[in-house]
Subunit: 288 residues, 2 copies
């Protein structure tokens, strides 16, 4: 049993083993206890729901808001497929096209300034509808609907299996990456929606895959990953590698695999920690 | 030559080798190229200079401002010793007692709200002087003076050698940690000032050490580190381990040293990367 980190906000005491363990998907250690930092609940929060004519203008608005320094705390994208699924599942009646969900928190002045800036950028990008959700109820309904998006898409196409993937690209590339994903979804004839944390450049694709569509869904993931890497991005922003993206990790960071394997061998010399995940089999268990 | 990271804002592609290399003090690899993210220059910035009757009330104000969610971008502490040195070196005439230097950036409303909150907390803590530095010139002078603090203290006591140390503690402990450091400085009869990034709980001690004071300065560092660890903090917030804090690292993270040594052996099997720094000699170079 080891303990990494301290209660201080930062440290430069030795190598950052906390950061190494976070995201290691159980392949280095089992985390049995963790301490999280709490932040004050903001005194004021307002959400904006903005409809756009296409996914690209929504993405450009998100990227523009971040570049302009708008201090928004949520900046979420849903495309038409996802909004339709959400409406059907959650009983909402949001306009069934691409949208951004934005939230700003803080003092009243901070929130007003932030959202005014986002609104101006959205209008310049041709936003078709801008709705302020000010009441706690309306905000709670909005974020619940967003949180339920995965369940909503799963319920949308009966007889299919849910499959999800995510990539993350530089903010300047997020509109083009979303367009590429949408074009590929249509070319492959798949039922899939794009959502994600647009302010991070993090795109998720939620697919509903029928038995005869498994290969095409694999092709979609492969092509979307290849596109993200070509744009200077990463094969996963949040979901990780698991089994399905071991090849993608090698494609992205082939030069790092031997070092990762050596670290794995140091922490887990017997290969008992979530074996077969994240890394391809090592040629040997010895360090480089 | 390896390349870690991507241009995306986040990634979950394998182990975080970028985080592992940052702060490894040249013991794992030599960084030959790095890419940094740029942020927009804020449209508006105002600095506050607040004088306090003692270091503790300054620290409590910093901790209170962070806990209350004030989004300030700088929150710096200088004690009376440092302010005197700064005045002598930079030709400023700031009141020669403990002070906080605070800066907020963003839209005009954001900045006004943030600083009003900090001011209210400072007043409740008995602040004796609160000065807004609004003009770019006055702000530049203030931050230049703060940046020159190390040179200023070095120039203060002729015939001495400069020695610096830093610790980082939880925000709730920063006032007590500063009081402990000040008491120890006086008990040991040393010429030293306390400054630091109070909003992070990160305290720096700048000592001017005469030839016959080396042992006492060592005792000060040892005791301040022990105090920080007892408060749930870390032996270094920023400066790192080098040679001087190898013992402190073992005191803080003794259970992690074998893992750090194994990682070191994986990256640097021949022990040629900044040898003798950060880690005590390994019993063997083989992984655990």
């Amino acid at each position: 049993v080891i303990r990494t980190g301290t209660r201080a906000a930062k440290t430069s005491a030795g190598y950052d083993l906390t950061g190494l363990l976070v995201g290691s998907e159980g392949t280095l250690a089992v985390i049995t206890e963790l301490t999280v930092r709490l932040h004050a609940i903001p005194e004021h929060a307002v959400a904006l729901r903005i409809a756009f004519p296409d996914v690209e203008s929504a993405c450009r608005t998100a990227a523009g808001a971040v570049a302009a320094g708008a201090g928004v705390t949520r900046l979420e994208l849903m495309d038409a497929f996802i909004v339709s699924a959400v409406n059907a599942y959650s009983g909402t009646s949001y306009p069934e096209g691409p949208c951004l969900l934005v939230e700003s928190t803080g003092s009243e002045g901070v929130v007003a300034d932030d959202l005014e800036l986002v609104q101006a950028i959205a209008q310049a990008e041709g936003a078709t509808d801008i709705v302020y959700e000010r009441s706690p109820d309306a905000r709670a309904r909005l974020w619940q609907a967003r949180h339920d998006a995965a369940h909503a898409t799963a319920a949308m196409v009966p007889g299919t299996k849910e499959r999800a993937t995510d990539v993350c690209v530089p903010l300047t590339e997020v509109a083009a990456a979303a367009r590429f994903a949408r074009t590929e979804i249509e070319r492959l004839g798949l039922s899939a929606g794009i959502l994600g944390h647009a302010g991070d450049g993090n795109l998720h694709i939620a697919m509903q895959v029928a038995a005869d569509e498994m290969e095409r869904s694999e092709e979609l993931v492969h092509n979307v990953v290849g596109d993200a890497l070509a744009r200077g991005g990463t094969c996963s922003g949040e979901h990780g590698i698991g089994v399905g993206k071991i090849g993608a990790l090698a494609q992205e960071h082939g030069d790092l695999i031997p070092l990762m394997q050596a670290i794995k061998a140091s922490f887990d010399p017997n290969g008992i920690m979530n074996p077969g995940k994240v890394l391809p089999p090592a040629a040997s268990n010895r360090p480089l």
